[in-house]
């Protein structure tokens, strides 16, 4: 079960870790019993994701996927965030071991959930 260099890089040096105080949107997916919990914090300005940070309890893949996801949507529109798929994240990382594709690749879900909740609350569609 080898991780790509890029996965290892994101895992060893995760980007955008931590919390955003008074975030505009927050979502958490997964649960400890699955071995993965990913929490996303977004600061949104208009329709743009101004800032994004994450907290992750999980394996190397879960952490790398979280980090990669935040990089891919930071500064992007909410629409673009919603269009981002798990597969795109995995692809950007140069692939994930098959066994990790499903369970640890949850960051896009957290992102989508945060964005959708935000849009609902703000009457966007």
């Amino acid at each position: 079960m080898d991780y790509t260099e890029k996965v290892m890089d994101h895992f060893m040096n995760p980007r955008n870790v931590g919390k955003i105080e008074n975030a505009d949107a927050i979502a958490e997916v997964g649960n400890p019993s699955c071995g993965d919990v990913i929490k996303m914090y977004l600061r949104i300005q208009g329709e743009t994701i101004e800032d994004i940070k994450f907290q992750t309890f999980g394996c190397g893949a879960a952490i790398a996927v979280s980090s990669q996801t935040t990089e891919m949507v930071k500064g992007k529109s909410l629409k673009e965030a919603l269009d981002l798929t798990r597969d795109q994240v995995a692809e950007e990382l140069g692939g994930l071991p098959p066994i990790k594709m499903h369970c640890s690749n949850l960051a896009a879900d957290a992102l989508h959930q945060a964005v959708k909740t935000y849009m609902k609350e703000h009457g966007l569609s």
Binding site: K19, P32, I99
Partner: protein, 396 residues
Amino acid sequence: MERIYLDYNATTPVRAEVRDAVMPFLNELFGNPSSRHLEGRQVKTKIEAARAQVAAAIGAEPERVVFNAGATEGNVSVLRGYQVNYKDKKGRNHIIVSGVEHPAVYDTAKKMAGEGYEVTFVPVDGEGNLDMAFLKSAVTERTGLISVMTVNNETGVIYPVKEIAKIAHEKGALFHTDAVQAVGKMPFDVKDIDADFVTISAHKFYAPKGVGAIYIKKGKRLDPLLTGGHQESNRRAGTENVAGMIAMGRALELAMGEMASDRERIGKIRDEFERRILAEVPHTRRNGGENNRLYTTSNISFRFVEGEAVQLKLDHFGIAVSTGSACSSGTLDPSHVIMAICNGDEEEAHSSIRFSFGKYSKMEEVGYVVDRVKEVVAQLRSFSPLYDKFLSSQGK
């Protein structure tokens, strides 16, 4: 920097003396031990000498030792083959295994449960100790086999196999112990335990992977898994892994001579390591009771962080450890062993790391390892949502 290997329970390097013993068998001593010519007879003599070495290490007669391809084959052979000892085969299709067996026993028993066997798993408590009352009450006149390992590979917890053998025999059941983590590391005597079947594996004591043996008590039999050859006195067909057998014999011979001093030296390193980790890293838990544990193993849960992440980061710092057992690395679930011992707290189970020490471990390495563990765990906790929640709940 030299790497620090702390995964001796997964496998061990082949030691130089063992390698030297093997070399002639990759050279001039190449005959098939079944052949009647000189080339064959020479090799036959040597594998019988290796059998005697293995036998001596476990207190058995040489002819009671059957070589095979490792303890997975050994365990499966026992579970699949024991019924031949019972005339009324259908009457003894109840087997009892502990809830912390290696998958070769645990998964095989589960599979057998789906094939008409009745299987009872004996639970363990939070220190990894077997519920002996449960075990005793589970044995009936229909119980054919009880299989409990001597030492658990993930926690190092030692089980009362002598007592369990007695319980089995009182009801006419046979007793098997997977002694993979015990033999070569601690005194082990098949006669003292009165085991009917014992499985061992060479790569756990500085011999190559892919060779092992079963002890079969005098008068007991196993319906062979591998058929179609008279090798191993008709008990295991197939051309022998000659080099492996030679290695195994030599490695055990060496292990016997060094056992007491290894135990002393390695035990001190493990103890010092564990003491420091538990003292210096907050929110940790030892999986397995402090005593009654093999001196090689320290299994620790680091709350709020996931085991694989810790393992990977330590690997990056040159330290090889494992999450649960190497054998369960094909799945994402925490091992059933750690789950059992964590009483179903899956978060703690996901947070466990096994440090296992061996012949080449050094006291001087402890400091570096402890420092890296502290650093890695702290870093991972810094962005763990679970740790964050915990801190909030503490009002921090």
